[in-house]
Amino acid sequence: MMTSLHNRMADLNNEEVIRYSRHVIMPEVGIEGQRRLKASNVLLIGTGGLGSPLALYLAAAGIGRIGLVDYDVVDFTNLQRQVIHGVSTVGLSKLDSAAQRMLDLNPDIAVVKYNEPLTSENAEGIFSQGWDIVIDGTDNFPTRYLVNDACVKLGIPNVYGSIFRFEGQLSVFYAESGPCYRCMFPEPPPPGLVPSCAEGGVLGILPGTIGTMQATEAIKLLLGIGEPMIGRMLLYDALEMSFQTIKVRKDPDCPVCSIDKADLVLIDYEQFCGMPAHDHSEFSAVDDARELEINSVSVHDVRAALENGRDVLVVDVRDPHEWDISAINGTLRIPKPDIQLAKNGIQAGRKLWEETILKGMPKDKTLYVHCRSGKRSADSIAMLSEIGYSLDKMFNVEGGILAWADEIDPEMPKY
């Protein structure tokens, strides 16, 4: 049993008393607890699989102020698990899509939107805007370490949930009274040992299961009821329908929560993890593509190659949501982050990547590689050159798809 994280109360109007009556009639919540929830501030990192049930249930429960951090737009393939969004909001920012649904469910709450990727530069600023709890609903290691370290520094509990295929994990990392994420996972696996979702995937219901449990833990912490998951981790296996709880102990030598908060510096977590945190990231495991002599071709060469059926593969390394905006027909599409993963994996000795991500791209083919304007494609060529692709057979498409729109297809939308 622990006490509530804060002692603020906000008044409820008559309509709110009716709305929350199923809460209010429980002695563990009561009018006082509901007023406490209304005066609470919860920040959600991510409005995807985990963030969807979190945002819906926390809004419905009457958390007075809910913050959302995300930079992404709703994609059709999100709808398998990200149930806060819908067909009508595909293409909209996830923040606007989520906020719209939350305010429809409960117009009495306030939603604060941070339309940006969480970074070491902005995390402290965002986290210090009055949040009682941060909930980690992210999908990658760099952001998880960042969320943990920023929460430790600012003394905020971090309600952790993570998912993979049919398995989920749940814990509350609160360094003020227990261990932090780094006590359990001091450092991330090297990139080559991290399965991508292409290898993994996730049961669409799984983030629903874990996300609703994260929401439960948040409510418990705010009301000061029950036994929070501090110092414990729940392991859930959907196939076995098994739940096991293990102990998580505070590491007295933890590099993050054992040191003075003033000395705790948020580092470059992409560098720390050796992988990008998000698909807008500039992070590249290649130090400098500009030092390589990379051949180039024009968009006219690309058109000629596609029209003449020459033995050339045109590869589009932009992100999937960009393909939806505009794309050249007949290209092979592999986002740069996947090439990065494949490179890291192959360098760590995993053949699997060659057989999956790079399957459609034989080394003896001539490759014309393009992105939006030409930078990511050059980086991709540099990475491929490190894993057996010849620089003589790879050509960077000058000006990328923007040049194609200017010179070949004036009707193509530019972005």
Binding site: T77, D139, E167, Q169, F185, C197, E199, P320, I357
Partner: protein, 100 residues
């Protein structure tokens, strides 16, 4: 023999097996027997003979780091568990589906 529970991300290297019985008087011996039987697992668990720092081994609900590490003695009735570091998400899920 003690049993070791293999988490989903590592089942690709155990032929899909989720629970494997292994001989051994200590956690270290049991894990060595495990990676001998499933050599592809070795790189995920060990760096040379050292257990990788992101690999968490539990006996029932207790972390071996807070027992005697790889020297922790085990009984045949013990259940060992490898706790994976997972990040979740769908960041790279599209590329395989959208190949032309």
């Amino acid at each position: 023999m003690a049993s070791i529970r293999i988490p989903t991300p590592l089942r690709a290297y155990t032929g899909g097996a989720s629970n494997i019985d292994v001989a051994g008087a200590t956690v270290g011996e049991a894990l060595m027997n495990l990676v001998e039987a499933h050599p592809d697992l070795r790189v995920h668990l060990f760096n040379a003979d050292e257990l990788r720092s992101f690999v968490n081994i539990f006996i029932d609900d207790e972390d071996i780091r807070f027992m005697q590490g790889l020297d922790t003695e085990i009984a045949a009735s013990d259940s060992l568990r490898i706790i994976p570091s997972i990040a979740g998400g769908g960041m790279f899920a599209l590329s395989l589906m959208e190949w032309k």
